[in-house]
């Protein structure tokens, strides 16, 4: 991230949102709202004094997955690029009650500016790569595992913070009362491969569950139980890691856990061991839920802005699963990473590289090849009603002097406008009315069912 931030050809607009994309491949116009963070990026040195002195304490930290706190002015996480804090106006005493301003007074560079307003940036770009990532499955949607109800039932992100050296416990894996756990259960497939939530496999959870088990084995003497449906150790070196974990003494139970209940001050995990063909009940001190990956909550909105389609699971749809995995239905817009579907870091890096190369190659070529299906308007017949403008999914048609005009680069040839045109002024080459009618007549003629 740091080297990206320092690269002369890369400009990072953090804390910003794309509001509108217009134009077409090679000539996109992107309107970005740069939200007010109330700190001047140019002046701030990232010293963190404001964060230290801010009196608005005890706000649940998003980065610590709710297990730690932050202030009202904060740098989202330690490795953040750019290293500039943001003010959370909902919790800031200045914004709520009109006094305090400690950060402004104390900032040695005078970078805090309560008057800052959202800024609109207009960008002209040739190609776009969408890499908006995923949302972690919200485990509170499941009720049977006691998440949010019982102590020491954590989702994988919370456990990740707990096990991390910079986390709320400084990397010590402990229960809520400070004791070291004697037994930990890791429950796979929470929110994945489940008809109630998502039917797809989230792909990464098996391996990160193994990693978490390894961390537990490394840091504590706890017994670790993994409850899995199928172990999917698919990548390079992954199977070997799985074997190593088996040698480390992690207990693997084939069967998705059915329930977690409090029992004698501990937690009882109930499951069916499919290999033994019987029900098992295992008392543990801590339960980690391996939450799956989901499309981001605003994926529909993003898809609309960039003209992307989505597959049935809600992730962005690539143009072709094998032959065009980073291209999309919109020319010049590419996708990379988990916004396209769950994938692990190596796959994400590979896909990001592919998207960057395809995008650069397209710009380097300087021209684009078009499909022959482009709607054509017979100006004499066009009544200028504008139905086609409304119908076009690509906003490729506009009315120019009362007549419809099709942008050749934007039109994808779906023919929705043709189906909508009342005076039949629009035709689609290779799918004209005459051609379809001839085909249909032929179909009806040939049909001789015995």
């Amino acid at each position: 991230m740091v080297s990206v931030g320092q690269h002369e050809n890369i400009e990072i607009l953090s804390y910003s949102e794309v509001e509108e994309v217009s134009g077409f491949v090679g000539n996109f116009k992107v309107r970005v709202r740069k939200k007010a963070r109330y700190v001047d990026e140019e002046l701030c040195t990232g010293c963190g004094l404001c964060q230290e002195k801010c009196p608005a304490k005890g706000i649940s930290s998003e980065f610590e997955a709710g297990m730690g706190t932050r202030k009202a002015i904060y740098i989202p996480f330690p490795q953040a690029v750019p290293r500039v804090p943001v003010i959370d106006t909902e919790n800031c005493i200045w914004f709520q009650r009109g006094r305090c301003g400690a950060c402004q007074k104390l900032c040695p560079r005078g970078a805090v500016d309560f008057e800052q307003e959202d800024e609109i940036v207009e960008l002209e770009v040739g190609t776009i790569i969408v890499a908006t990532g995923f949302d972690l499955f919200d485990c509170s949607r499941t009720t049977q595992y006691g998440y949010g109800r019982c102590d020491n039932v954590l989702d994988s992100m919370q456990f990740e913070r707990l096990a991390h050296a910079s986390g709320p416990t400084g990397g010590r894996i402990v229960l809520k009362d400070g004791r070291e756990p004697e037994a930990v259960a890791i429950l796979h497939c929470i929110g994945s491969r489940d008809e109630n939530y998502n039917r797809y496999c989230s792909r990464v959870c098996c391996m990160y569950s193994l990693k978490l088990a390894h961390l537990i084995k490394d840091a504590t003497k706890a017994q670790v139980y993994q409850f899995y449906i199928d172990m999917r150790a698919f990548g390079k070196g992954y199977e070997e890691f799985y074997e190593r974990l088996q040698k480390e003494g992690v207990v693997f139970i084939r069967g998705k856990a059915a329930e977690v209940v409090p029992h004698d001050g501990r937690l009882l995990v109930k499951a069916e061991d499919a290999n033994l063909g019987r029900l098992v009940q295992i008392p543990v001190d801590m339960v980690v839920l391996s939450a799956g990956l989901e499309p981001r909550h605003d994926a529909a909105e993003v898809a609309h802005i960039f003209g992307l389609s989505r597959s049935a699971d809600g992730f962005f749809l690539e143009k072709h699963p094998k032959l065009a995995p980073v291209e999309t239905a919109s020319d010049g817009v590419f996708i990379a990473g988990t916004c396209q579907g769950p994938k692990d870091i190596p796959d994400t890096v590979a896909q990001a590289g592919a998207a960057a190369v395809v995008a650069l190659a397209m710009m380097d070529k300087g021209k684009v090849t078009l499909e022959p299906f482009i709607a054509q308007v017979d100006e004499e017949r066009c009544s200028g009603c504008g139905e086609c403008v409304l119908a076009c999914p690509y906003k490729a048609i506009e009315l120019v002097e009362g007549k419809a005009q099709v942008s050749e680069t934007l039109c994808k040839g779906c023919g929705t406008c043709v189906g909508h045109c009342l005076p039949k002024a629009i035709t689609l080459p290779h799918f004209t009315d005459e051609q379809l009618v001839a085909e249909m007549q032929g179909a009806l003629m040939e049909l001789e069912v015995a």
Binding site: F373, K412, G415, H420, E439, L444, V449
Partner: protein, 135 residues
């Protein structure tokens, strides 16, 4: 007993590959259906459907992608709006609206395609030949 003639308009990206999959998976389905490929179900204009009936089709199937799955973002939404209106017109003109059906078939739903075609053929078989309806 007559054999109904049915024309299916299938979109290139979902329903046509769906039909293809039914074929490559060797799933049997009614031979009464002939498929015409269009790029998007949004291309199928009301006039084209009416013309198909006039040319002697006993039933018309319009097949598109599931919502959110459309290669052309939302061409199928337009189809979904259009077909119910057209059904009203059909009914008004004395043509049974059951003769026209809009269904969503994805590229992976070969079996569903076959099942759908069979079922639709049976529905049409219960109706008189279009030649007795349009004179």
């Amino acid at each position: 007993m007559y054999e109904p003639k049915i024309v299916a308009y299938a979109c290139t990206y979902c329903s046509y590959p769906g039909a293809d999959l039914a074929g490559t998976s060797r799933i049997k389905y009614s031979p009464n259906v002939n498929i015409i490929r269009v790029l998007c179900s949004g291309r199928v204009s009301p006039e084209l459907i009416l013309r198909t009936f006039r040319e002697g089709a006993d039933g018309v199937l319009v097949l598109g992608c599931h919502f959110g799955d459309c290669h052309f973002i939302n061409g199928n939404h337009r189809t979904a709006k259009r077909i119910p209106v057209l059904k009203g017109i059909l009914e008004f003109s004395g043509i049974e609206p059951e003769r026209l059906r809009l269904e969503w078939v994805s590229a992976s739903e070969g079996e569903r395609f076959a099942h759908l075609v069979d079922e639709f053929t049976e529905t049409i078989r219960q109706l008189p030949s279009i030649k007795q309806v349009i004179r």
